[in-house]
Subunit: 350 residues, 2 copies
């Protein structure tokens, strides 16, 4: 069975250990964060990114805060609340971060008493395990959408690096390859942070999956030229009506796919679906620092002082989304009904 | 009157002098090429780029070859033929290169005899002057398409740096600003070679025009958000039916503009229109080196050995093009009729 040969996030006796994704693909370096505040900073700085991965990371950070508070004889519940607030503020768009923190808060509320830290450590580990299982289940459901010999376009990194492992969109691709299908991947480089060039190319090459790198503005031309059979991307938040917030550029890929009759799929766990959010306009879009655009990784590529816009995400209206692949099955339009139905079903966690 | 405070290309006593566009915006460095072969290499290496600019540069290189041949007592016509063949082979997509060389060849054929080099020097200077005048005329025609307070999206660099001066798409913007209109420009950075980030931002900032830089994959989101009133781009070759070959990513911008009801304009001199080319499928698309994608300007951003696709241009079908602005007026669909008509009209060269 193929799968990432790295650990995106784990809880160690010292703290929360992250693969520093800013340094990939040049170096595979791990960093250990010793407080929830340090973890929040690492999330903001994109040491770790990807909606499911930052959810799991935040859960571990809350557990870390609880264990440290207990060790120091401090008020565990108060420290859990403070850590949760700091973590949720780190990045606004991905709902998994708030979702994971909320789940840790609920676990704390349901288990008052002396063993709370251990309860929260177990809950964080459960969130991680469920994420891994959800990715495998998404892969099983989604692999049916990929035919033998297909070329798949993906945007950003929705892989093992964006989850506790295996990946959402890349999990679907991995599962198709595990089934013996020949699959070719075109990876958008995904400016400004280059998650496609640095991360998707890196983890697919590690798995021996056939990947070719393109710049973002080439995707339309390859869709138009008939070289792409389907698109699969991840998501940072999915509204109740099926509107999808994901990495900037996703909207463009979706429009270009539809214009050329190519199916556009989103793979995401149910923790990314925000039924409280009626539609995409209600999703907050993070604007990040201009230097990500003008000086990627320290190398200036634009005139000093140029004005910049840098929204990190965009919203793809549901009408461009062919289907949404989750661990509980595949939702199709109309999404108001199909997404809500996913939550009344048992998840496929086998 | 605003206009670029630099010289993209000129004929000097020593050879052909080019502003080295690879080193912008960090440094404003000029290089002098002393043979037509050196000029061809500079065109291939993108010291100079932009369809009209490489046409003017090639004309100067042919004149240089003629003058040097005459000085050395060599066969001028033979050297002109050889120089022309070398220059045309440098880059395949932009038709202006072949057009300018063909015009120099014709001038040579019409003026056999001892003063041929001087004739060719004069012809090259005329091509340069006509390009400047064409850009000014395009500006006058095209400025009417821009309203006061408009935000204009542009892709790549179709400015003074892509022409003998003033620019095609940026010439239209400059003319609107000269008329007193308040214009805001969003410039796509234009991976892989970053002509938008390095060149468009630089030359518009020099002119004090309000420009903000975005990554290519943000354009769709801003079009969808209603922040863009119109799109203006240049062209490398326009087929008889109105299909437009231009920098990779242009097709995507055009589709996204149409999807959001935003007009998409192309500004190009008649030398970019190839009536011998029936439609876009007949336009050769140059594929460039993988390193432009994986290691822009020497800084690796992708795993070593990753596979890459790097088409430098794409073709935008005529159905996405609202109008084509030329020095002889504005052509609208159906383009088979309107483009041909441009060549029976007197050009507005005032």
């Amino acid at each position: 069975m193929i799968g990432p040969m790295f650990v995106t996030v784990e809880r160690t006796p010292d703290g929360v250990r992250l693969l520093d994704q800013r340094r990939l693909p040049a170096e595979e370096v791990y960093v250990t964060l010793r407080t929830a505040g340090e973890v929040a900073e690492a999330i903001r700085d994109m040491v770790v990114r990807g909606a499911p991965a930052i959810g799991v990371t935040a859960a571990f950070a809350v557990a870390l805060a609880a264990t440290e508070a207990e060790r120091a004889g401090a008020d565990v519940v108060r420290e859990v609340e403070a850590a949760g607030a700091t973590l949720v503020a780190a990045r606004p768009t991905a709902v998994n971060l708030a979702w994971a923190v909320e789940r840790m808060r609920k676990a704390a509320a349901q288990h008052p008493g002396p063993a709370l830290a251990a309860v929260l450590e177990a809950e964080a580990a459960r969130i991680r395990d469920e994420d891994l299982a959800a990715c495998r289940a998404m892969g099983r459901h989604g692999a049916a959408l990929i035919g033998d010999g297909n070329t798949v376009l993906t945007h950003c990194n929705a892989g093992g690096l964006a989850t506790a492992g295996y990946g959402t969109a890349l999990g679907v691709i991995r599962a198709a390859v595990e089934e013996g299908k020949r699959v070719r991947v075109l990876a958008d480089e995904t400016r400004p942070f280059l998650q496609g060039a640095r991360l998707t190319a890196w983890e697919l090459m590690k798995d021996g999956i056939d990947v070719s790198l393109i710049t973002d503005n080439m995707a339309g031309s390859f869709l138009h030229g008939g070289e792409i059979d389907l698109v699969v991307v991840g998501a940072d938040r999915i509204a109740r009506n099926g509107d999808v917030a994901n990495k900037i550029g996703t909207y463009s890929v979706a429009v270009l796919a539809k214009e050329n009759g190519v199916p556009f799929y989103v793979a995401a766990p149910r923790s990314t679906i925000d039924l409280a959010c009626p539609h995409g306009d209600a999703i907050p879009i993070e604007e990040r620092d201009a230097a990500e655009v003008t000086a990627p990784f320290g190398h200036a590529i634009a005139p000093a002082g140029v004005q910049v816009r840098n929204p990190a995400f965009d919203v793809t209206p549901a009408r461009y989304v062919t289907a949404i692949v989750t661990e509980a099955g595949i939702a199709r339009p109309p999404y108001d009904a199909s997404l809500a139905a996913l939550f009344s079903r048992e998840g496929d966690q086998a």
